[in-house]
């Protein structure tokens, strides 16, 4: 990508410079200070008392379920196709709140993770069954990792509120360093906006917890996600699903069965940025009806299949947190790969289209067309949003990662596992 010349900073811990702290707006009383903060105000609207309906009801509520979403280069200006929103966190049950901008909307993960250096509001730390502090580690496919304590916050998104939600503070000072090699295997530490590409991650994929069943019993073979952290140091532990990092959408009192990602289309040459909407609930308001879309259920790890040239590729998925369309190989597609420095992207001589059939676990299928242009050319432009940036995804086995470009000009519903919608229970995608 266009950041190949970027120098990363590798610090085990990062204390916020005053400048960074000034970029966040501290709201409500108690935090004081930042008098004329530049952006936003919290709307802690308590949805007019008696909106007792569940998320699957289509009766609707008066709650504002629409959160504005931008697609841009991220807060460090070093990424592309980065969908971001503002997330408000509050000390549980209080009006002591803070809004953090430029948090990545990620349907490929679950859980709210925020750079600790940006969080000024004091949040209670979660503990395990032994009373020790709880640490969380997520490792990404690029071998980067995010490490930090689990804390509890009220998470507010538009007019929706997930009370007492376990979230992660990435790179919190005063907390033990990431265990190595159990969490830190020598990869990049995502404890800065430059390394993470965002100020945090709003993980709202098709599951309710980040780890799920794999973390409810101590594993001897997998890289652990949860750690018990007495003063003597952190060690792997198991955690009940309800104490794991949560998909905040599933904790809303209403509009809790999933969300709609709604982004406009973009011209062939791309755009500097783009505005769209993250709309909570499926079939609960006039703005999130399923209409005539098809429902594609996923397997128990959040994948479905894609068929290309008569060959089926399981392990495929939709993901707003992927900044391109990553699929198959040059050998399978006939699309030339880029030379250095844009290794990992496609560089066809001329823009090309690929017809692929997406197939849900339920057998629902439809053909979609995805576009791929020359990444060298795209990255040379000043734009940050492209519907035609792609690259190989060789696996093994090869698969389709339908990243952010797939969502441009297409309404995509994401339904959470076990939650009911007018089109049945999640987990599914619908478009």
């Amino acid at each position: 990508m266009k950041t190949t010349c970027q120098l990363r900073i590798h610090l085990r811990r990062w204390w916020a410079p005053a400048l960074a702290a000034a970029l966040i707006s501290i709201l409500a009383g108690g935090c004081g200070g930042a008098g004329s903060s530049p952006s936003t105000s919290t709307s802690t609207s308590s949805s007019s008392g008696s909106s007792s309906s569940s998320g699957s009801s289509s009766s609707g509520s008066s709650v504002n379920n629409l959160l504005p979403m931008q697609v841009n280069a991220g807060p460090a200006n070093n990424s592309l196709n980065e969908p971001v929103v503002s997330v408000t966190i509050c000390a549980p049950g209080s009006t002591n709140c803070q809004t953090i901008s430029d948090v990545l909307v990620d349907t490929g993960s679950v859980g709210v993770r925020l750079l600790a250096s940006l969080v000024a509001v004091s949040l209670p730390e979660a503990t395990d069954t032994s009373g020790n502090l709880l640490g969380n580690c997520v490792q990404f496919a690029d071998n980067s990792f995010a490490w930090g304590p689990v804390v509890t916050a009220d998470v507010e998104l538009a007019g929706e509120k997930a009370s007492s939600t376990p979230i992660q503070l990435i790179g919190a000072g005063g907390f033990p360093a990431a265990p190595s090699p159990a969490c830190n295997t020598g990869g990049i530490n995502d404890d800065t906006a430059a390394n993470l590409g965002a100020n945090g991650v709003l993980g709202i994929g098709v599951f309710q917890q980040d780890c799920g069943p794999a973390c409810t019993s101590a594993s001897t073979t997998l890289q652990p996600v949860y750690f018990s952290c007495p003063t003597s140091g952190c060690s792997e532990t198991s955690v009940d699903p309800t104490s794991q990092l949560q998909n905040p959408v599933g904790l809303f009192p209403q509009d809790n069965n999933g969300e709609l990602i709604s982004l406009p289309s973009v011209a062939v040459g791309g755009a500097p940025s783009l505005s769209g909407s993250l709309i909570f609930g499926i079939g609960t308001h006039s703005n999130n009806g399923l209409g005539g879309v098809k429902v594609y259920t996923t397997d128990d790890v959040g994948n479905f299949s894609a068929t290309f040239n008569g060959q089926s590729y399981s392990g495929s998925f939709l993901d707003t947190g992927s900044n391109g369309l990553f699929f198959l190989t040059s050998a399978l597609t006939g699309i030339a790969a880029c030379a250095a420095p844009n290794v990992g992207f496609y560089c066809p001589g001329n823009p090309t289209s690929v017809l692929v059939t997406t197939v849900g676990l339920n057998g629902t299928s439809s053909q979609v067309s995805i576009k791929v242009a020359n990444a060298d050319s795209l990255f040379a432009s000043s734009n940050n949003v492209f519907n035609n940036v792609g690259g190989p995804n060789p696996g093994p086995p090869p698969a389709f990662d339908f990243g952010l470009p797939f969502f441009l000009g297409r309404n995509v519903f994401v339904a959470i596992q076990g939650q009911n919608t007018p089109a049945g229970a999640g987990p599914f995608w619908a478009y």
Partner: protein, 146 residues
């Protein structure tokens, strides 16, 4: 790609040997404690595959040349593997290249003069492979590393 198996060993080991890239297949690293599972070794045409199926769903395959040198590894599972262990002495090279690639998270391709690493996936579903082109046996391409 399926390779016709000339010899098939199926062994149940509590602590399998765990070889790393560019090391002899007999090498054992500290990671041997982590992956406990069924080890199945298949000698095909021109190379041997050591496949470890761990009970939690992690599958690691190591590809060894006739002389015993591991030229490639692949992985698939609900979490990332410990790449520092899998890549061995090639890890610093990978780390440096990955650092220069910018925030990717879901897909990463690293190509240096010696090393290729391809890694992809999302929470609960990861996959990838790594190989050293100069260690590939004669008449064997990277396509065998699946």
């Amino acid at each position: 790609m399926k390779v016709p198996a000339a010899v098939l060993f199926s062994l149940l080991l509590s602590v399998p040997s765990w070889a790393v890239l560019g090391q002899p297949e007999q090498s054992v690293t500290s990671d041997q404690k982590r992956l406990r599972g069924e080890l199945r070794s298949t000698t095909g045409q021109g190379y041997t595959v050591h496949e470890i199926d761990a009970p939690d769903g992690m599958i690691v395959k190591e590809y060894a040349a006739p002389g015993g040198m591991v030229f490639g590894v692949s992985w698939r599972g609900p979490t990332m593997p410990d790449l520092q262990n899998l890549l061995g002495s090639y890890f610093p090279e990978f780390r440096q290249s990955a650092a220069n690639a910018g925030p990717h998270h879901r897909v990463l391709a690293v190509r240096t003069a010696r090393l290729v690493v391809e890694s992809s996936g999302h929470m609960r579903s990861f996959r990838g492979r790594a190989y050293v082109a100069s260690l590939l046996p004669a008449n064997i391409t990277e396509e065998v590393i699946q």
